[in-house]
């Protein structure tokens, strides 16, 4: 049997272009795209941002932070090796920026080796053997070079790339080569973002950070705020003072100085059993004792629920009576931390 194969004698794209044929909006937009970024932009298609809170929408802990190390303002982003004078803060876009996000982050570097990082859960299987592309907008108060690195779960530097931040907003796109599952080390990897030069101090404004599978950057994925919040809640969940009479949790007095308090179910299961911290804006209340101070005796939380045993300052509560933890009007916060390391 003979099979004849007919090949078109003309280039379809050229033919459609030359005739300006109406192939539908999506088809026309696809054809006029010069690269993947334009294609995704023109067609409104997007892909998953591997990073959480790359748009700096969620700042549960604070919106202005001066720190030497550890976590700072924007959820999921933390500094490491920062020196005194390091500041990170949330700034609102003014409407003239070349991106659409409501906020961006300003990081004031006080010395060399200042950086921000994001640890990424469940990386290895998802990113193994694939190109990944980092994209972000950056601006500085002076022209400086910055480094972006992918770091494995065993703290091995897999790849490092220089990027540039001028005094105007600059779009940066960096593609990293594929790494095997073994290279990634385990299911937690790190994106490092910072500088390692001691010549000068500088600040860095960063917006719309996206890490995605593929060798080309696509437009920044704009998630609904509730989705970003839920993503962040897996690693940090803060009960705060939405009202002066907020009750953070209720419970039962179990001894004259001991009370058990339930703090509710978490919106999503947390990454680990969380560390719990309360500040001075949180007080204990029972009908017998009235408002009292307390200390946390035992953290009885699980990955799904917050629960504490408290020691009530000065005994005198009646076992069996109901009690609560409440915001005493001084910015009370109960913070559950299940950070990835």
């Amino acid at each position: 049997m003979t099979v004849k194969v007919h090949k078109p004698k003309y280039n379809l794209k050229e033919k459609l272009d030359s005739n300006n044929l109406q192939t539908g909006q999506a088809g026309r937009d696809t054809l006029k795209s010069e690269n993947m970024r334009e294609l995704f932009s023109n067609t409104g298609t997007s892909r998953k941002n591997i990073l959480i809170n790359g748009g700096f929408d969620v700042w549960q802990r604070a919106t202005y932070f001066a720190a030497t190390s550890g976590y700072f303002g924007p959820d999921q982003w933390f500094s490491a090796g920062a020196a005194a004078g390091f500041i990170a803060q949330r700034l609102a876009s003014g409407g003239t920026e070349p991106f659409a996000s409501k906020y961006y982050t300003r990081v004031q570097m006080a010395s060399s080796n200042t950086n921000i990082n994001q640890n990424i859960e469940h990386t290895g299987r998802y990113m193994a053997d694939k190109y990944v592309t980092l994209s972000f907008w950056a601006k500085s108060d002076k022209p400086v070079n910055w480094k972006s690195k992918l770091i494995s779960g065993t703290q091995t530097e897999l790849a490092s790339r220089d990027s540039y931040a001028g005094m105007e907003w600059t779009y940066n796109e960096i593609t990293f080569p594929p790494f095997s599952y073994a290279d990634w080390g385990n299911d937690v990897a790190k994106l490092y973002f910072g500088r390692e030069f001691s010549e000068e101090n500088a600040r860095l404004d960063i917006a719309e950070v996206q890490l995605e599978i593929g060798s080309q950057a696509t437009p920044f994925e704009r998630l609904p705020i509730y989705e970003t919040l839920l993503n962040c809640y897996r690693y940090c969940y803060v009960l705060t003072d939405d009202g002066s009479t907020t009750n953070f949790g209720i419970g039962t007095v179990e001894g004259t100085a001991i009370a058990a308090i339930g703090l509710g179910n978490f919106p999503v299961q947390m990454y680990s059993v969380p560390t719990v911290a309360t500040n001075s804006g949180v007080s204990f209340y029972s009908p017998t004792t009235g408002s009292r101070g307390f200390s946390v005796t035992s953290n009885r939380s699980s990955t799904a629920q917050g629960a504490l045993f408290l020691t009530i300052t000065s005994a005198g509560a009646s076992p069996g009576e109901s009690c609560s933890l409440f915001n005493n009007g001084s910015g009370g916060k109960v913070t559950f931390e299940a950070k990835i390391v």
Binding site: T154, Y271, S272, V273, P274, T275, V276, A277, T278, N279, V296, T297, S298, N299, R300, S301, L308, F309, E337, A338, K339, I340, V341
Partner: protein
Amino acid sequence: MTYKIIEFNDSYSISKNTMSIPRDARNADYKQFIEDIALGNDTVEGPDVIEPSYVELRAAEYPSMVDQLDMQYWDGVNGTTNWADAIQAVKDAHPTSITGGTTVGDVPSWVQEEADAWLAAKQLADYTVAIERLSQYVIADGREEVVESRATGEQVLDEDTEEMVDVMHDVTTVTAIEPVEATVTRLVPSDNIQEDATEETIENPLITQDNAERAEAQAVVDATPQAVIDTYNGE
């Protein structure tokens, strides 16, 4: 601030500053606690041991109010002293010299056990990296070529033995690398602007860096306990 072990209802958590850290191996603060103890970066205090005073001890042993009233009624009817005897027995068992108080107990053994396990894992990882670094060639000495004779996959007839034999060829398995120059010369500008710069010969910085890295790796190897080396060797 020192970590504090909290024991409550046979369950442990760790307290530091305003944090209450669960004993959960995935928790970042718990991992930091174990690391701090393993490396001696911080200290840990045992749980509070609360010794009850005579007041609490007696309160727990006095008969209930119902029983005491009952005892007093029958003592009045029968002319006995059961109620007074029972109360006195409790008082005698817990004299007022028992004032109670809070003392700090021993740190539970699991703290040191987990710190030791963490340290051993870290030493094994560091030892592995150090051995890998030392296995690299010394750049001051260069590297000699290694050539192996391997079968090409073809065979020819050996006329003497009348048997088919492999055709062999030489394969370079390790390429040679020339040693770097032992020294380099650099210009040192004079403090006096009118004088010319002078030449200075120093050790090649590449060799200096190689030597420093090798010395650092050797120090790690030397400091590694034998038990960790045995684990590395699969013993």
